[in-house]
């Protein structure tokens, strides 16, 4: 049984349909990528999984049907969605952001340990631990958003455009940490990324979306070898 299974999932904003019959699955300790141009439906796919858009079809997590469930319930089942752009709580301190991430954890000691772990992963955050999230730079906010996701000890992380608006060196650091997180904590991932070169460092396999439909899917090596993918996403 796969950890996450999407079967014929569709979604729309108001009257405009954005996704049509998308199906794929993610195994335990697996990292899947979603590639595609702007407006292809990548973010919507993640939003469908975390319950933030109304969907058709069926989405199963760990064997359980989560289609149509409220986002906070889905999150409590062990899915952490790190949304695109400002996913942080701007008026709260960095520490409080992390504490919010650990909302389900009951044991204070564990939470403290987890905060330490996150600060090791993202040393930049340590110096800013008492500052309001809104005063952080774009890169630091992105790190904080990911760290908050980790604090929930999820079985699956959904990462949306983690490199958007980041300088290349910062983006590389973020992805290096994501890779480390996977090997250390064994978290499964679905990664949406415009920069395919970065995504391919981490993912095992990927789907390519075009205007809301899957146009390609397969293991990383196979996709990287395809001319169409190289031209469209790897810049040469």
């Amino acid at each position: 049984m796969s950890l996450l299974e999407l079967d014929n999932v569709g979604a729309s904003y108001g009257a405009a349909p954005v996704l049509h019959g998308v199906s794929f699955s993610v195994e335990e300790n697996d990292a899947a990528g979603i590639l595609g141009a702007n407006g292809a439906g990548k973010s919507t796919t993640l939003r469908a999984i975390s319950g933030m858009v109304t969907t058709t079809g069926s989405i199963r997590f760990d064997g359980r049907d989560i289609t149509g469930m409220r986002p906070d319930k889905i999150a409590r089942l062990g899915i952490a969605h790190v949304p695109e752009g400002r996913g942080t709580l701007g008026d709260l301190s960095v520490r409080d952001n992390l504490r919010v991430g650990a909302f389900q954890q009951r044991d204070r000691k564990t939470v403290a340990d987890d905060i330490e772990y996150c600060l090791d992963l993202f040393p930049n955050l340590r110096a800013r631990i008492g500052s309001n999230a809104s005063t952080l730079s774009g890169g630091e906010q992105q790190m904080l958003a990911i760290a908050r996701g980790i604090m929930a000890k999820p079985r699956l992380i959904l990462l949306d455009e983690a490199s958007l608006g980041l300088a290349p060196s910062t983006a590389q650091n973020v992805y290096a940490t994501i890779g480390r997180l996977r090997s250390e904590a064994g978290v499964s991932m679905v990664i949406v990324e415009q920069n395919a070169a970065l995504a391919f460092r981490v993912v095992d396999h990927a789907i390519v979306l075009e205007t809301g439909r899957i146009s390609l899917q397969g293991p990383r090596e196979k996709l990287m070898g395809m001319d169409e993918v190289r031209r469209a996403y790897l810049g040469g």
Partner: protein
């Protein structure tokens, strides 16, 4: 001198009533980012519930507890059924929604109890005590103590408890908070419920003085808003300090500045707000928000 101190204590007591309402406004603002112009009207309706109960022979304390519960539930229901749809939308629309609620709640109270004022029993005895030659009414003292208790409880709710943290998170960004598994919808309801409950405390404290009528708290609302804004909207502590200041300054101005007298006292908080905001637009205790382009 004794008269002066007496004025200050009375100012503190009326300030405490504005403070309770201001705390409710701050609480709603924190949990939903809205300003509830109906806060006073909702409190009046809850106070009317207490009034109806005492009229039918229920002990006052029981009536007040029932009114608090009623207020909590009505606040939660209003949030769930009406306000929910407008949260996170256009803030001007949100203002209009709460104005609709203000009209609605005033309307409900008027439809059941009419517009003429009714006497309301006080929780505190009418006597005064003599402290070093200054006569202080037990009513004023009681009001001040109740408010202090409420403030301490609220501040520790936000600062210490996990629920307070969760409520702050939801106030900041409900969507993002829900992705961390926070039960957003329940937290918002609790926020509004608590605020309405606080309002009902202000209502039962003030009703013995003003007599109860549907528009009893209209002016108090303006004072409370002034206090909340002066206090910086995100700081319960600041709101109470500002409410006290307003209460004292208003009382002293009414007594010592003959032009102001009793009828123009209400101009005092307005002018204070104007002056303070001209200097510090973020309020006395609020943080300055850096707008990023």
């Amino acid at each position: 001198m004794a008269y002066f101190i007496q004025l200050i204590v009375e100012g503190l007591a009326t300030g405490s009533i504005y403070g309770a309402l201001a705390l409710a406004i701050v609480l709603v603002n924190r949990s939903t980012g809205m300003i509830n112009f109906a806060q006073g009207a909702m409190a009046v309706l809850a106070t009317f519930v207490a009034y109806a109960l005492t009229e039918s022979g229920t002990p006052l304390l029981v009536a007040i507890v029932v009114a608090f519960v009623f207020a909590f539930l009505s606040g939660a229901v209003v949030e769930r059924v009406i306000v929910r749809k407008f949260e996170g939308g256009d803030p001007d629309t949100a203002v209009v929604v709460t104005i609709g609620l203000l009209t609605l709640f005033t309307g409900i109270a008027a439809a059941f109890f009419g517009y003429e004022p009714h006497p309301f029993p006080s929780l505190f005895p009418a006597e005064s005590i003599d402290i070093l030659g200054v006569f202080i009414s037990l009513r004023s003292l009681g009001t001040i103590i109740v408010l202090l208790l409420v403030m301490v409880l609220l501040q520790s709710l936000f600062r210490v408890t996990k629920m307070g943290l969760a409520m702050r998170a939801v106030a900041d960004n409900p969507q993002s908070a829900s992705l961390s598994g926070l039960p957003v919808s329940r937290l918002l309801m609790i926020g509004w419920g608590l605020a309405a409950g606080l309002g009902s405390i202000a209502g039962v404290l003030v009703a013995p003085q003003l007599f109860i009528s549907p528009s009893m708290l209209d002016f108090a609302l303006v004072y409370a808003l002034a206090a909340a804004i002066l206090g910086g909207l995100d700081s319960p502590f600041g709101a109470v300090i500002a409410a006290w200041t307003i209460g004292i300054v208003e009382n002293l101005a009414g007594a010592y500045v003959s032009f102001i007298g009793d009828d123009l006292k209400i101009a005092v908080p307005f002018i204070m707000v104007m002056i303070v905001l001209a200097v510090r637009p973020q309020g006395l205790f609020g943080r300055k928000v850096v707008v990023r382009v």
